[in-house]
């Protein structure tokens, strides 16, 4: 699987993506979770206590004069090696890589970003399932951060703004250069007709529906993983079903 979670800010992507990763790993599949959002989110939802897991300086080297981009993975360091060596390890064996927070050192952040993109480009298909969490809104989807993904899951809640964002993301994600499947996951579902509303107003297939659940909000406030804090909650179970369904259908 190579999937990217996108959606309007605040819709609940990180909680769903993190839970998805843990559930997928429990099926025995190797999972690489990636977060290109400078704000912490996915790490906590995975059950990690640190939220900052950038690649260290030793992993990145400067390219010959004049070549662009200026940075690349150190000679001899393959994408797979980089993950084995430097990715943080979350519960259930999920590996985690993040840009790193912007601490005012733009150069270091930029280096880390370039290496991150190289890893995504070069990582062979045969081992890692890659699950990514993009920051809210449309900007990163536009600048190609989701290019690694074969399936884009747009997390949508039944509000006008979220639906409008979903339509925009859908258009941005459908790209002839990178043919991919774009589907929706309904979140904060409260009423009977919500899923049908989302399907109708986005024109997307809704592959999963996560009910409104206090447990997700609580987990976020405690900076903990929903799957650890509330494993029996309706929301967590809904995400587990989503994982089962996507694995069985092999649609990612």
């Amino acid at each position: 699987m190579r999937i990217a979670f996108v959606g309007k800010g605040g819709v609940g992507k990180s909680a769903i993506a993190g839970t998805f990763c843990r559930a997928l790993a429990r099926r025995g599949d190797p999972v690489l979770a990636i977060d290109s959002d400078p704000l912490p989110g996915l790490a906590f939802s995975l059950g990690l206590e640190i939220s900052d897991a950038p690649l260290p300086d030793e992993a990145i080297e400067e390219r010959p004069e004049g070549e662009r981009p200026r940075w690349q993975l150190a000679t001899g360091l393959t994408a797979a090696d980089a993950i084995d060596r430097y990715a943080a390890v979350a519960p259930d064996g999920v590996r985690f890589l993040q840009f790193g927070k912007h601490r005012g050192d733009t150069r270091s952040l930029f280096k880390s970003q370039v290496a991150f993109r190289q890893i995504l480009r070069e990582l062979p298909d045969d081992r890692w399932n890659v699950v990514g969490d993009l920051p809210g809104g449309t900007r990163q989807a536009f600048t190609g951060w989701g290019d690694y993904a074969r399936t884009v899951l747009i997390v949508v809640e039944p509000t006008a703004k979220s639906l409008l964002t979903a339509r925009r993301l859908s258009r941005l994600s459908l790209d002839e250069e990178h043919p991919r499947r774009v589907v929706a996951v309904a979140n904060k579902v409260r009423e009977e007709g919500d899923v049908e509303l989302i399907a109708r107003r986005t024109g997307l297939e809704v592959v999963g529906a996560v009910p409104w659940d206090e447990a997700l909000a609580e987990a976020e406030e405690k900076m903990a993983a929903p799957i650890d804090l509330a494993p029996d909650s309706a929301a967590v179970q809904a995400v587990e079903s989503l994982v089962d369904q996507m694995s069985e259908e092999r649609i990612a």
Partner: protein
């Protein structure tokens, strides 16, 4: 008077902007509501409707397509690319919506 509204996406920024804009307008001020988000939703909170909001053309887009020779003035921009929202608020979207670079 200039008021800037900031915050994490999903925190209520756009709702706040909209209610403040219309309330100031109701108190007699001439208000321009500027949506600077690369994913603009202010129209919905203002009450112009999601269909209309989706149809709004960003100012940059409008300018690019118009093949402008001279940079238009601010008032000109607002009158050409803005649209009417309730309570006399004038809404303008800054970015290109089909090409959401940072506003």
């Amino acid at each position: 008077m200039r008021v800037a509204v900031v915050g994490k996406g999903g925190s209520g920024k756009t709702t706040t902007s909209a209610v403040v804009a219309r309330t100031l307008a109701r108190h007699g001020l001439s208000v321009v509501a500027l949506d600077c988000d690369s994913n603009p939703n202010l129209g919905i909170s203002l009450g112009v409707g999601d269909f209309e909001t989706e149809r709004l053309v960003g100012m940059r887009e409008g300018l690019d397509e118009g093949g402008e020779e001279h940079a238009p003035g601010w008032d000109d921009l607002i009158s050409r690319f803005g649209s009417d929202a309730p309570d006399g608020v004038r809404l303008a979207v800054v970015t290109r919506i089909d090409n959401p670079e940072p506003g």
